[in-house]
Amino acid sequence: MATLVLDNGANTAKIGFSHEAVRVISNCQFRSKTSRLKTFTANQLDEIKDPSGLFYILPFQKGYLVNWDVQRKVWDHLFGKEMFKVDFTDTSILITEPYFNFTSIQESMNEILFEEYQFQSALRTNAGSLSAHHYFHTRPSELCCLLVDSGFSFTHIVPYCRSRKMKEGVRRINVGGKLLTNHLKEIISYRQLHVMDETHVINQVKEDVCYVSQNFCKDMEVAQNKAEENTVMVDYVLPDFSSIKKGFCKPREEMMFTGKYKTGEQILRLVNERFAVPEMLFHPSDIGIQEMGIPEAVVHSIQSLPEEMQPHFYQNIVLTGGNTLFPGYRQRLEAELRSLVPAHLPVSVLQPADPICYSWEGGKLLAHNPDYDEMVVTREDYEEHGHCVCEDKFDL
């Protein structure tokens, strides 16, 4: 029997059989201005030659699965003959869902997996539980770890003591990659060019130019300098999807500090946007979200846990999710924690090589664990006992 591991994120699905490699695929549908009648599903996005003005149809809202018809279209495509060719009667699915998932969504999930697709068995869990499994697998001597999972919809801080999730320590900050991209769209649209319809393009701008500042006040000063002195300033050449397929930053030596470029390219000039946007992860109150930033929330979480365990959490902080990839993210978090945590306690923040697929890899390890068969609910179990058996067995 095969096991399909699916870390079902609100932006991308991380999917693959446990004996194969992972693939990262958009977990949504799209419509494009150029072929308006067609709805593109998941990786069919690659067929769209001009993704400007791309229209998104997402199965998730605020991090929770609400649009089942969209989700099923994506899954039909992923499980189907074009992609993973799943033989449901001979396949177990290991699938993730958000922390504190709503009861009704959990029940819909059981029905879809067992009744609609008819998987042979299923294990529903949180992405964090798989990340923790991954971490303890690579560091068997550690007892605790604290995950900082910063994804598309939000950021979660989740403590694990071995395989046990310590629910009382979970903290959610309502800042994720989607908010950052929308915020960047908003300020660029106000300051220089209307890009509100260009989520796809501006998300790429965000990934290409944004970084987490190590000294916010100083970067703000540098960003106010004129011309050559302004080392924060970059000029980003937007793609036109004919001669320029992908946007890029003008090399510093080609930048025109005064006057206009004569090349006819469409340029965005980015200055304080580069670090003020990811700053929302550290200071959500900068845009009026009255919540702690990540460093403060990490301390808040750990302080709610048994005192004798606290030093272990500070030493085993693991970063997952796409926002981890902002340059400087790990260093800033470690430095801020260092200043918040009593000096005698060591602080260590680990950034895995692939923070996006870290939990999927943990799922892959779990699928090969000898205990895996005892952790799943089989379709037979479900048909006999219904939702109760899932509720009892899955730690969600």
């Binding site: 419509r31 494009s32 308006r36 009648l37 709805t39 003005g53 229209f55 149809i57 997402l58 809202q61 929770y64 609400v66 649009n67 089942w68 018809d69 922390y99 504190f100 709503f102 009861t103 009704s104 969504i105 029905e111 879809i112 609609e116 801080i157 629910k167 009382e168 979970v170 903290r171 959610r172 900050i173 309502n174 989607k178 908010l179 929308n182 915020h183 908003e186 300020i187 106000y190 300051r191 509100m196 319809d197 006040c217 703000m220 106010q224 304080n272 946007e273 003020a276 200071h283 109150s285 900068d286 845009i287 009026g288 979200i289 919540e291 702690m292 930033g293 403060e296 929330a297 808040h300």
Partner: protein
């Protein structure tokens, strides 16, 4: 001198000042916008009325006759129209459920002092617009702010 002062006071008096509730509503609307999936119209909906071959996918009552064969299909298709995040959250009735839960897990308010940035240029700001409470850093930015956003976006 006295005359001048009077004039400016009169102008100040005439300028509309947004009350706290309006300012709060405005902030909520700005934050809600940051959750939006799209700002443009669905390209499909901007097409001329579809002909017989170009029907919109229908998730309507047509599903009903199939109900006997498999119960869940139609249910889930319809759920899409019935239940958004807010509805689902309300149905969970979390205020009466034991903690920790979705609501109790929200990170509390920061204990750090708030920082202020110019709503025009994004640099640190020291001044507050008396009309709307927005922040600005210089008279140049205040001017832009008044011309563009100050009293727009209000209900």
């Amino acid at each position: 001198m006295v005359l001048e002062k009077k004039t400016s006071a009169r102008v100040e008096g005439q300028r509309r000042v947004l009350d706290e509730a309006t300012r709060q509503r405005r902030l909520t609307r700005q934050l809600d916008a940051l959750e939006k999936d799209n700002f443009q119209d669905d390209p499909l909906s901007s097409l001329p009325p579809p002909g017989p071959t170009a029907r919109l996918p229908a998730f309507s009552e047509n599903e009903e006759p199939e109900k006997k064969r498999r119960k869940t299909r139609g249910d889930h298709f319809k759920q899409r129209f019935r239940k958004n995040f807010t509805t689902l959250l309300e149905e969970e009735n979390l205020s009466e459920k034991p903690e920790p839960n979705y609501l109790s897990a929200a990170a509390p308010v920061s204990s750090l002092p708030p920082r202020h940035f110019c709503c025009v240029c994004g640099f640190p700001s020291h001044y507050t617009c008396t009309t709307c409470g927005g922040r600005y850093c210089s008279s140049k930015c205040l001017c832009t702010h008044r011309e563009t956003r100050c009293l727009k976006w209000t209900l």
